[in-house]
Amino acid sequence: MALLQISEPGHSPQPHQRKHAVGIDLGTTNSLVATVRSGMAEVLTDEQGRELLPSVAHYTADGVSCVGYEAAEHNVSDPLNTLASVKRLMGRGLADVKTFGDQLPYEFAADDGGMPKIKTVAGLVSPIQVSAEILRKLAGRAEISFGSMLDGAVITVPAYFDDAQRQATKDAATLAGIKVLRLLNEPTAAAIAYGLDQAEAEVQDGAEATSQERVIAIYDLGGGTFDISILRLSKGVFEVLATGGDSALGGDDFDHAIANWLRVQVGMDEDLNPIEQRILLETAKSAKEELTDSEHVELEILDWKGTLTRTLMHSLIDGLIDKTLRACKRSLRDAGLETLDISNVILVGGSTRTPRVGEKVAELFGRQPLCSLDPDKVVAMGAALQAEVLVGNKSGDDMLLLDVIPLSLGIETMGGLIEKIIHRNTTIPVAKAQEFTTFKDGQTAMAIHILQGERELASDCRSLSRFELRGIPPMVAGAAKIRVAYQVDADGLLSVSARELTSNVEARIEVRPSYGIGEEEITSMLQDSFSHARDDMQARALREQQVEADRMIEDLLAAIYKDGDALLSDDERRCLKVAIQELREVRESTIEHRVLARQIESVAKASEEFAARRMDASIKSALAGHSLDEIDKG
């Protein structure tokens, strides 16, 4: 038998093999992929040496024809089949999308209550599928660069993304066949990329470390989203204190404001065809970029000629920037801080290139923001650094991210009101439970409606999911005790269960947001997209399960060796050994990945109690092992 390795929590039992992990910034306008080489985060380029990948996919009757720069070239000639900015549609309903007005030139399929699908010559396309195409393209870029398969990716999302938007992003990754190590909030990724934790170490090495804690504000204005996060950095721990923003406000809105001004100047009415819309937008965008360096720009559309001055552009976009500044103030308030408490302000996102943004941010915080790293690349770089830690290549002892939930999670109560169960800006992971009761005699079922948002009325919040707890024994009103438990994991994703305590009737769901797509739909999409490569898929899935089985066998043996005497009875130990042996046999004999997955699941169940005992024991020893002094010194 192989020599046993003893594994400690948090350490990989197989340190010898370097794994391939990337950070992916899945942006509204552009996306990037980065990895860590020789300790440095580095953005991976395509064969032409380009770092950005425009987040655009072009569809023909046969399906996706191209992704990225090539797809973007079809913008003007074939706007209905050139899908861009789909990040704005992720996890949204048709009603949300209508509020964008004419900003997206696509035709949407009739509302079926789910995420809107776009009508293309290739049929209906979900924003998740478009995102998956972009992710697949980036993963391909990485696999070419590594010359081998990708082991996992950290994918960034705006901090302000709600559960439905996060789930949609994760679904896109699943569809692209990418293992998600973590969904990471974009501002947090940027803070990591700036290496402020190391800068802090240098300060402490100095003769007099004035303060061990620093508070950083990250202002992230992308193409379609705005985020503000307030972070406290102390001894390598990035603790998000508050986050806020607007998941439907970005630099694209600057372009639209300018385009709208252009439309009025040119004398076009509001009813534009998609090509006219594109022309106005492209002109607006290049005008905005030119005004970065010049005071005015001469414009020409059809037979109209005119001038846009920088001052005039400011008057068009200041209202939008002010909206972001109000969100900054609100987040400061949520964090219980004032602008004076902020030691650094970081600018992230391509739209912070518009100088007016930096000016107004500097004015609000009373200090010059940091922008030494390319605002387009900084998020992907930070994600790559975190991916390196999570995949197990680098001991992460010195870095930890404690993120928060951006929007409150609640439940609908009598009268269409929302009762908040987990408040926004609560550190995740988090579990909370609340007890409810029946309001009618003999009531045997209860509808549970899960919501996210800050408003008082359920109808004003995002509906995440509905489910029913049935089979409650008939009792007088108020006698039943129904415990509804919310669990949010480190990705910010929610699962909910409900249990009637007197009878133990239970209902449990993974929250699949109503705006998302079902597990079956993902499977069928996966099969569609890989139908030509099904065997590859099978082989890949089997390989993944084999790795998982090996890891599990090794971990369990190590755990039994280390803690078996203390924590297991003879019978329990024997059962586990049998389970391990069975798993080993199945691993060697089967070529069916689902069979192996089932066996792994059954061993996981059998060893769950043991794992729980080990966790309890390790908390106790973590506590016993550290004197107060030791911890204070950290």
């Binding site: 103030k329 794992a611 973590a622 550290h626």
Partner: protein, 203 residues
């Protein structure tokens, strides 16, 4: 089918179910209370810097990111353990939640949204404060009006905390419960002042 609405009957914020077998989404059960998790004595006084340091130390060890390359069971347990640590930290760092929790450890449920305090003068005063809050937006300088209101409520809040400490220390739990009820009024009012101020700033 008749749509059944959920009725909020009892708002217990603590996830410490005493019932039955381990459920996958119950927190990891520890024999210890929240104070013990942080190796500090069960008492009203909590040294914040020490609590913060302990918190970071524990999360360094048990955060799910530390288990990213582990199996599903370990990952799930890490999520639950980290959740418990977060909940304990959240409870102990807030004066109101800490006070409620101290009483809960004495089997007194102080987590109800509004305990009716029998102190008539206090209730009158609350009504007046609420009136002042609703009138603040119309004041000549609404922000100054809110600042004035806030500093009044803040000093009342610290007095209530001192009262609680004294009552709790001499096992006078009836009065301690009453002080917690008063603290709830103050905390809620402070929150509403903040909200109103944010709304006014947004306008």
């Amino acid at each position: 089918m008749l749509k059944m609405n959920v009725v909020a009957a009892k708002a217990s914020t603590f996830n410490r179910s005493g019932a039955g077998t381990r459920q996958v989404d119950d927190p990891v059960k520890l024999s210890s209370d929240f104070f013990e998790i942080f190796s500090i004595p069960v008492a009203w006084q909590v040294e914040r810097s020490h609590l913060d340091a302990m918190y970071r130390k524990l999360q360094q060890e048990f955060h799910p990111d530390r288990y990213a390359s582990k199996g599903a069971v370990e990952k799930r347990l890490a999520v639950q353990t980290a959740s418990l640590i977060n909940q304990a930290y959240d409870t102990l760092k807030s004066p109101l939640k800490r006070a409620q929790y101290l009483l809960e450890l004495k089997q007194i449920d102080a987590s109800q949204d509004s305990h009716i305090t029998s102190d008539g003068a206090f209730l009158m005063q609350q009504i007046e404060l609420r009136e002042a809050l609703s009138e603040a937006p119309d004041a000549a300088d609404p922000f100054a009006a809110l600042d004035g209101l806030r500093s009044g409520v803040e000093s009342a809040y610290s007095q209530q905390q001192m009262d609680f400490q004294a009552e709790y220390q001499c096992d006078n739990y009836d009065d301690a419960l009453n002080s917690v009820a008063k603290m709830q009024f103050s905390a809620k009012l402070l929150y509403e002042i903040e909200q109103l101020e944010a709304d006014l700033e947004d306008q």
